[in-house]
């Protein structure tokens, strides 16, 4: 599994695409946090990273499918999946190797945003006047959210051998799961069950974790959805029908 993980990361960073994706992610978060007047920290006046964590899920929605779209789809298209699957590896080792490989890439893209935290920390009206607990919670939330999005991306990559299709499916599923249920819960006809429906969506749980409250219910939610998508991936790949 570690061999696959390492190769996944190496393959990603040996192509120019990797730097473009990570670069755009950092450029976009930088713009939203420091430049755009609606969300910039300097205009807002409070030393916090809220606008970063508000915009990050929507960037992840595009960034992560771009990372994961090739992982299995390309192997299927080029036939190299046969190479992997006829080696002494279980399907789970292949899937988890790819999953954690992509997750590691997402973490690497996230890591430079820590600079924003230190900047805000230094800029506080009294130095260090930042709600560090909330920032840690938000990073945890973002990481867990990334975990689900990567699982969705790997699944989308497994159902097709076309990278564009994999990307599109992953973006849609991620978007729908993140904010779709929240929006649906506001439908008038569904008002009796609105809290239940909102609880299926990621946004509810993401915001709860972002407040810095690590509730086991949210952790169970993130873990079970991630596992759910990985199990479907295993089922899809196990059928060998393509």
């Amino acid at each position: 599994m570690l061999t696959i993980l390492r190769k996944e990361i190496a393959a990603f960073f040996s192509s120019l695409v990797a730097y473009i994706i990570v670069g755009i992610f950092l450029a976009a978060t930088g713009l939203f946090l420091w430049v755009f007047p609606d969300s910039a920290v300097l205009d807002y006046g409070y030393a916090g990273l809220d606008s970063l964590f508000d915009i990050a899920p929507y960037l992840f929605m595009f960034l992560i499918p771009a990372v994961t779209m090739r992982s299995i789809a390309e192997e299927k298209k080029e036939g190299t999946f046969e190479l992997l699957a006829t080696r002494p590896l279980t399907d789970w080792q292949i899937i988890l190797g790819k999953y954690f490989g992509s997750l590691a890439i997402v973490l690497m893209a996230m890591a430079p945003t820590l600079i924003y935290y230190f900047t805000v920390y230094e800029l506080g009206a009294t130095r260090g006047n930042v709600d560090t607990g909330a920032v840690i919670g938000s990073y945890t939330g973002l990481f867990l959210l990334g975990g689900i999005f990567v699982a969705i991306g790997i699944l989308a990559s497994a159902v097709t051998s076309n990278q564009v299709v994999a990307f599109t499916i992953a973006v849609f599923l991620s978007f729908f799961l993140f904010s779709g249920f929240d929006s649906l819960s506001r439908l008038v006809s569904l008002q009796q069950a609105d809290t239940l429906i909102a609880a299926i969506g990621i946004m509810e749980h993401y915001q709860s974790v972002s407040r810095g409250v690590l509730d086991t219910r949210d952790l169970v939610y993130f873990a079970s959805f991630t596992l759910f998508f990985l199990v479907i991936t295993k089922t899809v790949l196990g059928g060998r029908k393509w």
């Binding site: 040996s14 036939g79 190299t80 190479l83 006829t86 590896l89 060998r240």
Partner: protein, 241 residues
């Protein structure tokens, strides 16, 4: 007995890719697995390497059941898939190292330089796979298949796209490997099968139409080349003139 196949059947939807075939392959012999396009050669090989599951029947490789002991089967088998899929962005040594890591080989460096020597990759070993010519890619595929010193080698058209010089080199390699191992390989070149194989299995439309030692196959059809035998056994597939 290294490979034992009994009444193996594979259905793709309603279509029978292979229909209750049985054959055996022994160590120290090279088995030629011949048949027209679409006869079920690759399907059989994919089942033998535990890549796809069979619909019914049973197949064992070195005593391991391909359906239930897939990991053990994959450990003892070296497989070169049809069309020789490779990672073009990797360097030759990197690619071999990747495969060696999957197998958890201890003497990795030694094995990599061994197989580079065996397959004649020496001059091209510092290139990326994407930069190699087809013949050299084929050698990389072969090197990957033998890096873990497998007891059984399954090669799906290992010589397609090679020039005559490369052909004779690869054929000699297959013969040498077959001296101590079980080799099953498929080809469309009958002269090659005659030159390399000890045993011939011909499959047509999912059924085995010949399964014999090369010498006795010649005895049954006296005075005919393997190509003529092949055409007479599988000829109904040919386009009518």
């Amino acid at each position: 007995m290294s490979i034992a196949v009994e009444h193996l059947t594979k259905l793709f939807g309603q279509q029978k890719a292979i229909d209750s075939i049985s054959f055996r392959a022994e160590p120290g012999k090279v088995m030629g697995f011949l048949g027209p396009n679409g006869a079920g050669k690759s399907t059989t090989m994919r089942i033998l390497t535990s890549f796809i599951p069979q619909t019914s029947g049973r197949a064992t490789v070195c005593g391991f059941d391909v359906a239930r002991e897939a990991l053990e089967v994959r450990r003892v088998v070296g497989y070169l898939p049809e069309h020789n899929p490779l990672y073009p962005e990797l360097y030759v040594k990197e690619s071999l190292g990747f495969v060696a890591n999957i197998h958890g080989l201890q003497n990795k460096r030694q094995r990599i330089s061994d197989v580079i020597g065996l397959t004649g990759l020496g001059d091209e070993q510092h290139k990326k796979i994407g930069q190699l010519s087809k013949g050299y890619r084929q050698r990389v595929g072969l090197a990957q298949a033998i890096i873990h010193d497998p007891k059984v080698l399954i090669l799906d058209e290992p010589t397609s796209g090679l020039d005559p010089n490369q052909l004779s080199g690869i054929r000699k390699l297959i013969r040498d490997l077959g001296a101590s191992r079980t080799v099953v390989f498929s080809t469309h070149i009958m002269q090659e099968a005659e030159a390399v194989c000890d045993h011939i299995v011909i499959i047509n439309k999912g059924n085995i139409v010949a399964d014999d030692a090369l010498s006795s196959l010649r005895g049954v059809h006296p005075g005919r080349t393997l190509e003529e035998i092949f055409i007479s056994l599988t000829g109904s597939n040919a386009i009518a003139h």
